[in-house]
Amino acid sequence: MGDNYEVIGKSVPRIDGVAKATGRAKYTGDLKFPNMLVGKILHSPHAHARILNIDTSEAEKLPGVKAVITHRDVPSTKYGLSPARWDETIFCIDKVRFVGDKVAAVAAVDEETAYKALKLIKVDYEVLPAVFDPYEALKEGAPQIFEEYPGNVNTEIHQHFGDVDKAFEEAYHVRRDFFSGQRTYHSPLEPHASIAFWEGDKVTIYCSTQSVHYLQYHLARVFGMPMGNIRVLKTHVGGGFGGKIDPTGLDFSAVKLSQITGRPVKMLFDRKEMFYNNRGRHAQYMELTTGVTKEGKILGVHANFVMDGGAYTGLGVASAYYAGALLTVLYDFDNYKFDMVRAVTNLPGCGAQRGHGQPQPRFAFESHLDHIAEDLGIDPLEIRIINARKPKTVTINDFRVDSYALKEALEKAREISGWRDKKGKLPPGRGIGVGNGGFVSGAGYPCYRTDLPQAVAIIKVHDDGSMATLYTGAVEIGQGSDTVLLQMAAEAMGYPLEKMRIVASDTDLATHDFGAYASRQTLMSGWAVKKAGEEIKDKILKTAAEMMLVVPEQLDVKQGIVFLKAHPEESLTFEEVARTYFVKYGQLIGQGSYKPPKLGGTFKGAAVGTSPAYSAATQVAEVEIDEETGEIKVIEAWDVHDCGMVINPALLHAQVHGAFYMGMGESIWEEVLFDENGDVANGNLAEYRMPTALDMPPVTSELVDSIDPNAPWGVKEVGEGATTPTMACLANAIYDAMGVRIESLPLTYEKVWRALKEKREKEKEKA
């Protein structure tokens, strides 16, 4: 792959690598502005309470405190990342709905003073009964958390395609299983940060964000300002994984506090506050019923799910739809029913985390499928090959899938993992498992309803042609988009990568783009960049044709050399052609814009899950279980990905490593826990147990050839899809090793130990 290309398909080092390795790279929290204040938010100590009174007078009197704000000082406009449910205000007005809800904020000369001021704010609460479990929340008589969600039902979905009942009647075998997932949190290493300052009626916000556009849009909406008066930009971002896509209390508070004080205000979450802000993975409760033929062909599936949304919606409606929508993509079946209730509870609100909504359903489905394979006496890998979707097909819920090499991924994974020699043949305590996954390569529609293009890019070649700058709104959060988009720009232009610069994600200086979420940038921002680069190439060839007295069709340009295709030795440099263009016509600029065609069906919720292209991934893992303690050791893992054309193989495989790592953490150790009052009990990085270097096994990341016709150069996503197979892959490996099925995430040592104990007791009874 990539042999015909000059710049793409090559593992060039990331452009921000040296800055990050030497400590020069500045993140939002590293920035300082003259006269800057520090802001902090006062969080609710109660899970559910009525606010009777807020007295800020003592806090205001504290020397060094410059402003104290509550709901009285800010608009009461409700917001949320998705307009499906706007239910959050900058500060709570009459009620708090979880421990950590936003009540007030202060700005002071330093952090110590700000913390002291928070303690001086007196809030009178009338504590209300709270509910922390979605099933309890859905019971009659449960505490009512929002007026607008009777019975605490936030989202209810009932979709039916084909005829599932008939499929079950016709099936040789019908099986029902129940699985549950846990609440997890992205935990990027860089805590959220926001700095705001005003000049006249314009405000600038430096933010650690995944989308400068959505933040600008929501600030404008809530504060009633023109978008043009709000500049959102970022420096380096220390990881996101979905957690930095929602606007936070920091952003709104910093804007207001800096307006009142006339000074820059910097605000940071500490580690526990990050868990309060949350927007991490929903805990889902998943009942799956599937009917199959004797040969293992899936005839119909019924997914009946409940999810714990926590207190606010954000992107949660989309999470709920995603949970069911993407179940139809991997395997081809004609009958599907999806029922979902997203309940609100008095816990922090959930949202999108790597793989948005679907890693837990994939855990459930892939575990379920292993049971079905066992019932039928079919090899688990084989049943997946039997059902794997073929390219150029349409799912039962109207997603068009053009390139799709899941079958090839399965076959390759079988080969490189040594599956045939290992499955059922490993020594006691060892097991091997398989899981499949994949994701959208960009959501077909933006988070709010708009006819704006998905992405716009501009490339400006500097006057003498010695340098070119790419302007994009795509957001580099560590995944490598700046590097990959520059590679794409250089390739399209026929220009050397080393001479390119980038101005990205700045609503004033760069271009429009919805940002880093739904694995969209390589495909969507990439389309805009490719078109911009091709416009430059077009202008260069026309100008060179004039200079060489030929027609443009006789010319090509590669790596900064314009040449006659028939006589490559007859050439001009890109620089001299660009300079001539500049003298004759003005600045050499190319621009591109991308908007996908209309995608998906017309039923309610049809937009969620649509995408120009779908990735597919197979993971196989080998585990070793300590029978005495239940301890799980992941010995080795293999990932085979269908991610289309690869722009930068090194960065791509690094995404797979990280995705497997995060999936493994969620599989075995990670879970956000709460105490009896609904406060986060493990809101730190020692007790929220992310794997360390000692826990990580060797991972082999391989690819299958695939080019998607709807994508620039045929690219697809990788970063999220590779998290989605992991949980089931490990659960299935544990089952293979010990014959025990852990149906709830995380697959803790204790759960394995208990299951083994139960199994032994049952065996003893039988004997």
Binding site: T22, P188, L189, M690
Partner: protein
């Protein structure tokens, strides 16, 4: 150590830190953390703050050559000691071998853990120039990375060690 009081009676201590070869004298409170002196007073923001609890390792610096979480060290405790931060590794703007190895091996994604990770690796390679992979993993087990799964980080450290030979 000289003690000073301001008008309100708050006590400050005059400390001298030798950071990346240069001496800096600052007045700090008894509870001031080393990480905050480095970041706020000396503008050495390459040392990151990820948790302020000693859990993540993002703030790792070398104190007399030993890796420490600078969020767990009081500035007072560092008085008179030699501190090396990520900014002190490059010589005349030439990055250290470890820094180069991190870039070349795609061991960096968001980069937030990178300075701390490199400092832990630097301490390892100084005391043990030819570590096994297990020793590398142990040496960086106190440095969390959320992006890379440590795969390329381990590879980078091993390759820097090989290059030293």
């Amino acid at each position: 150590m000289q003690k000073i009081e301001d008008h309100s009676g708050t006590k400050y201590y005059l400390i001298t830190l030798k950071v990346n070869g240069d001496s800096y004298t600052r007045a700090v409170k008894a509870n001031t953390l080393l990480v905050n002196v480095l970041r706020e007073d000396l503008d050495l923001t390459g040392t990151k703050k990820g948790c302020e609890l000693g859990d993540c390792g993002s703030c790792t610096v070398l104190l007399d050559g030993k890796p420490v979480n600078s969020c767990l060290i009081l500035a007072l405790e560092a008085d008179g000691h030699e501190i090396t931060t990520i900014e002190g590794l490059a010589q005349n703007d030439k990055p250290d071998k470890l820094q180069e190895a991190f870039v070349e091996n795609a061991a960096i994604q968001c980069g937030y853990c990178t300075p701390g990770m490199i400092m832990s690796a630097k301490a390892l390679l100084t005391r043990n120039p030819h570590p096994t992979e297990g020793e590398v993993r142990e040496a960086i087990a106190g440095n969390l990375c959320r992006c890379t799964g440590y795969v390329n980080i381990v590879k980078a450290i091993m390759s820097a060690a090989e290059e030293q030979q």
